[in-house]
Subunit: 281 residues, 2 copies
Amino acid sequence: MSSSLALVLLMLTFHNASAELFTALADMEELLETESVLIANLDNYIRVQEDKLNQLRRRSAEYQREHTEAAKDVGTYLSNPVNAFLLTKRLTTDWREVENLMSYDVGSEFLENVTNYRDVLKFPSDEDLNGAAVALMRLQDTYKLDTASVARGELNGIQYSTEMTAGDCFELGRQTYLNGDYYHTVLWMREAMDRLSHEVNRTTTKADVLEYLAFSTFKQGNVHTALLMTNELLELVPDHERAVGNKVYYEKELEKEAMQKALRGDDGSVDVPVDTTTVSS
Amino acid sequence: MSSSLALVLLMLTFHNASAELFTALADMEELLETESVLIANLDNYIRVQEDKLNQLRRRSAEYQREHTEAAKDVGTYLSNPVNAFLLTKRLTTDWREVENLMSYDVGSEFLENVTNYRDVLKFPSDEDLNGAAVALMRLQDTYKLDTASVARGELNGIQYSTEMTAGDCFELGRQTYLNGDYYHTVLWMREAMDRLSHEVNRTTTKADVLEYLAFSTFKQGNVHTALLMTNELLELVPDHERAVGNKVYYEKELEKEAMQKALRGDDGSVDVPVDTTTVSS
């Protein structure tokens, strides 16, 4: 299958899949409009905060310069009437201005916008997010797409969408987890872990990924690996409540497994892999 | 008088003057310690705010990059299942993170410090500021120091302290104004105005300086110049309440002056300058 044909098929498939989620493409276009408004508002917020910080930075630099000068020889510095006046001024009128500037809540209108937008703009729901994840997984299965390639936004070596971050892969895995689809959770959490190790500005945490990965691995029947992952998680977060509980549980499961093996060995039966999926849902 | 001798004399004079204000140099050294704490706290506040802004900037750049990509061809973009998932994710989980980050009040502990410092650190009072201004004016008079030179921090061409900003000169003028010393107010407000015209990051406003300058000039007996300055102020701030009232008052004063002149002319008396200081306090 040529990559361009694959792309067309993929899009057609998805178009059908997305039709279940959104009554029309127009709905999704509205989401892009929402995003456009949110970005503009965020940038305005950043701009006014930046202005405030620039003023404070200038003040700090002035204070610091003068203070360094004074520290060289405190006695001489303070004997000078101009310096004495300026120091007194810095700690009265000037400092009150700095205090006011620090406590002045700039950008509050943009924060209010954020709340108001929820009522006036179209936002996708958590169900929409889950639906989009399901559609993507269905597509991955249908075309037997390799997880790493999908994450790179590649199809047969051709870039057809943005590369996903570790956080994107994590969220995809989290959505399939919510649906009880542990097979895809393991695939995407592994991908998240792999991407995370290369990220400078990390978009998720190793602990979060390990938690989902360990439990889904257990649900897929691999108790031993699940225990190793849980131990790794506990090294990062020693008081992780669920991990502490799971560790105890996994260890008991492995003991049971070992006993079953031993029993079978005693009565001369063959050493078969134990189906631990009986403990899963 | 050599500049070094002048400097010694100046310092001795000031040392006596400052002795009235602060029981010991140690008191002023404490002020420097206060300043040191304030600067460190301000820098901490700036640092955490900067961290927050950097995170938001990174988010905005990511959103913008992806949004620009989508805008190129909305239909094709949204037909792609990875893009559809990522857009839905951006507007659900990601956007909630941005919202939380925007509304998260970072640096509040440093703002609280600012309030607490008032109780635990030594701060100069407004009276100390006034005293430091009086001491400086006394020195200027005693040594007949030129205002512009003092403002440059120069004595006989030698730099002996920091250069003053327009805001520093304004505050000095404001302090002498509060003492009813309009002579020095005019000197220092003029200096403030002169420095203001060269400042990139203005440390006071032309309107503020003009208000004090006009009124002090009137108090010094020059009603005509006071009116010109008030008109200049009203060009900047047309609804300036006090300026509107003063303008009417100055115009009436000038009318009275003109009538007095005319009367003297009528009875053949010589045309002498009218002493308008009779209207001042």
